[in-house]
């Protein structure tokens, strides 16, 4: 009899294991202790009829109590596990949570969206145009003289005849003027193509964002104000900007906008060639010939236009050293810009 009592006591010891058991262990314990076929306690209870009555009463009472306690503890633990209300003390919560794959929009798309959103606040809508263009839209309606060295900077991929891949988003200026009356305020993101070899700072395919405003009474002051406001929004409210003379056939006066070097803050470093400034965009007042080419009265209407490279802005901003990284699509690169 003392053997049986000892067995029951050692089984009772197992009660302590129950609150710590995980789901699998709990099922094992349940089978081991209470299993209908081979459970340890079940064996004892099965053997009761063969005992003398007194022993049967004593052992039977203890065994049934233990059975009740075990069943109770297991049920409680099962409920606990089900609720997930695991005792904090038992779990190492510094272990990482269950992950899911995360997706992300390309960093260049993000920068394009950010730029377009800033201009949206300044009243510009977002439009697009075709990537294959004719020379008329890409050059001549934009006041590029025929056979002029200005075309050298626009080394183009030709598809046949006078059809080429656009070298800038500016043809959309013409397409818009042909379809809508002023006032016009648009930004035009899109892919552009130039026959540059693919290296760390050049890509034959790049993104550009065109901006274009035409109305009565738009002046050089409006032009400077709009672009300076943009620069302060995308960099910082205290960023200094400067405008310098430049040349584009479709703007006059033409200007380039620099912002204070974002790396050295203007004191001069290798990135800004010691000038303290970084070139951000080319721009100017719309050349009257562009308006005239679209049958608009250039005495009445004036405007401004600009073009900028989101890849370049992304490189400046995030310290990306090589433009090819944008096109490699290495998932370790793309994942860095998930937000």
């Amino acid at each position: 009899m003392s053997d049986l009592l000892a067995a029951l006591n050692s089984l009772r010891e197992r009660l302590k294991e129950i609150p710590q058991a995980d789901e699998r262990r709990l099922q094992e314990l349940k089978t081991e202790l209470l299993g209908r076929k081979a459970g340890a306690l079940t064996d004892i209870l099965k053997g009761l009829p063969a005992l003398d009555p007194e022993t049967r009463r004593t052992i039977g009472g203890a065994a049934n109590a233990l059975k009740r306690d075990l069943a109770h503890a297991i049920a409680a633990r099962e409920l606990e596990l089900k609720r997930g209300a695991t005792a904090l003390a038992d779990v190492d919560l510094t272990l990482p949570g269950r992950p899911q794959w995360r997706g992300g929009v390309h960093i260049v798309t993000q920068v394009v969206d950010e730029i377009c959103d800033i201009f949206k606040e300044l009243g510009f809508t977002r439009v697009v145009g075709p990537e294959a263009e004719t020379e008329r839209y890409n050059f001549y309606a934009l006041n590029f003289p025929k056979d002029h060295p200005a075309l050298d900077a626009q080394d183009s991929f030709y598809l046949g005849g006078d059809v080429l891949l656009r070298t800038h988003t500016s043809p959309v200026q013409i397409r818009t003027l042909e379809s809508y009356p002023p006032p016009i305020r648009i930004v035009v993101p899109g892919r552009c193509y130039r026959r540059d070899p693919f290296d760390a700072s050049h890509s034959p395919v790049f993104e550009q964002i065109e901006g274009f405003a035409v109305d009565e009474g738009i002046t050089f002051v409006d032009f400077k104000a709009t672009l300076a406001a943009f620069a302060r929004r995308i960099f910082s409210p205290t960023t200094k900007v400067r405008f310098r003379p430049s040349y584009f056939p479709f703007t006059e006066p033409s200007a380039e906008m620099d912002v204070q070097c974002q790396i050295c803050g203007g004191s001069g470093c290798a990135a800004c060639k010691q000038t303290g400034w970084m070139e951000i965009l080319g721009s100017g007042m719309v050349h009257p010939a562009v308006l005239e080419n679209c049958k608009l009265d250039s005495e009445k209407y004036t405007g401004f236009a600009w073009g900028m490279g989101p890849e370049r802005i992304a490189m400046l901003r995030y310290g990306i050293p090589d433009i090819r990284l944008f096109f490699d699509s290495d998932v370790r690169f793309l994942e860095q810009f998930i937000r």
Partner: protein, 781 residues
Amino acid sequence: MIVSRRWLESLLGRPLEGRDVSDRLARQVAPVDGVVPIHQDLREVLVARVLEVRQHPNADRLSLCVVDAGGAAPLEVVCGAPNVQAGKAYPFAPAGATLPGGLKLERRKIRGVESNGMLCSAKELGLGVDHAGILELQTDAPPGTPFLEAVPIADEQIIIDVSANRPDLLCHKGVARELAVSLAATVKLPPIPASASQSPVTRKDRGVVDGVEVRVDDPEGAPRYMIAVIRGVKVQPSPPWLATRLQGIGQRSINNIVDATNYILFEVNQPLHAFDLAKLRGPAVVVRRATSGERIVTLDGVERKLTPEMTVICDDQRPQIVAGVMGSAESEISAATTDIVLECAYFQPTRIRRTRRALGVSSESSYRFERGIDMLGMPEAMGRAIDLIRALAGGEMREPPIDLWPEPQKSRSVFLRDARVGHLLGVPVPRKEIERLLSAVGFVAAPKDDRLAVQIPGWRPDVTREVDLIEEVARLRGYDSFPDELRPYRPGTVPDAPAELTLHRIREQLVASGNGLLEARTLPFGPADGPDAVAVLNPLSAEEAHLRSRLLPGLIRRVEYNWAMGNRDVRLFEVGTVFRASGRPTDRPAEELHLAIVLTGARHPPHWTDSTNAAKLPDMDIWDLKQHFELAVGLAAGSDDVQPAANGSGWGPLEADAPKWAAPLFGLEVKIVVAPPSPVRYQPLPSQPSVVRDISLVLPGSVTAGAVDVVLRRQGGRLLERLDVLDEYRGAGLPAGTRGVTWRCTFRAPDKTLTEREAVEVLERMLRAAEADLDVHRRQA
């Protein structure tokens, strides 16, 4: 365009600082790409004084010098030059210094005596060809002074990014003219001893000068053409001042005649060509169009085929020069030349541009002719060139130069309204200020009625209309002087492009958690990817000779790149333009927006609660792709009306160059239909209980679940609220060639409680139809 700081100083008569010049030019004139000090390879060379010269103990030809190089003690230096003298100063490269060309001097024994450095010749310093001996310095600088501080060869190259419209900035005079405005200085060309040369004689299109017949048969190609003949010149090396000037801007000194023409080119932007009179048959100089098939061997030794689109300068018989582009070796100036013919011309810019593009050569001259030189400034440039040549090489002129100018032009005038200046710039600029700014750079403004009549100088071919003058006013005043406060504006008439909104929505969904796709932007070039692929006429390489007509091939290449980088889990999507040939190659190709997705690798990122054996992580399979396909179709097409991508690519497993450890690759591509998102309407939440029944059906091999689904839904009608696949089973207990599929049917009536009996009636009807239409029946339990 490279300009020399020292050269500018000589024109402006004042010292300049490279950085300051760069900043002034950038703000008012043109961007500066850099300021580069020259002779930096001489930084380590010092001025040294020789104290004592002794015979080298072991060599007759060598001497042993005691040299003061500014150090604590004099140094012993072995020297091989015959001209070394005690008491004189020489450039000295101490041991350890690196000389031009990269030679690093070591302290070493020469014939048994240790030498602590080297006294240098001009050649060793890269400053000239004179190697007769070491370079004697006329300097009072104390020993040890850096060589560059003691001699006037230090200079800075200012590299100006001159735009295509400003040929006037392609010379030192033009740059100095602009700088003079902000420095309040004046530009004066350094004097050359005048040779009392006579003014040119103007003729229409032919004439004779000193026995040389000159004729312009192509006045369109050469609207103005001047020739001078100088006899008895002595061709020799240029004097140091001239060689230094040219070297300062990276030009090689050749001889006094050629250097003189180059000097004038970089001083006043007038290309000149000198040729050897003795080599000219006739002697004659004939300007004409080349004939078809005519050939010339240019200076670079290449035989070039000419066309009638090109202008050539010929002697009595054959072309000597491709006008404005390149001369030939035949008539080049040589050491033996005594009589020269000097050409000063204006060649038609587009003619030059076409010629140099057709021939694939360009030169300093063609670069300038192509942009337009100052036709009115030619006599002055010619006179200066003659003076310089005669000052350097002697010679005499028996007759004045001839000036063939069939249609003389006067300077142009452009009218400028002061009101228009304020109208465009947004700030009124007083007339006085406009006049002051314009006249500072050579415009001559005179009031006429309520306007200014502005005479345009010949060096500004870019200024042709009022707005060009307004730009001049703005830049000379300084763009920074205009305010930049925002003013009210009217909203535009152009709506947002629906395509941009659609793409935005698609991207947002695909990157959302649960889909977890990364956006790729691939180059749209590659090999032809279909019968409609558009060829690029001038591709960068043969592998990139076509525009994509599908996105998937490019994305597969990106997956392969990722595999090469060791990345196994790759989930990419791209939305972008694809091109398809439409009709003739001279038509614009059709452009479509496509969406493509590629998937490979684990279905989930690994987690520590997973089996510790990472290999057990499930990889993505066709059903993951199917989910993305359904998503893509929903997003891109907005309906079930799917346009599979061109060439039937649709969706499925993809072939790729995969490493052994890679998971299967799946992909899809759909055409994006730009449309607003389908409208959403609120559905009342169900207030009646539902009845749920599961049915297991046996499908013959040819029957798809999709077909059964259609039949069941049709019969289920409005009471069948949902129909979901629970399970597919193949194997034991089923007739061969069949499979079991279990659906869960949820019935609900919107307006009343559905009884079991009513639900079962509908279910029976569904089953009967499936059996009748598709030979599908219920599986026996």
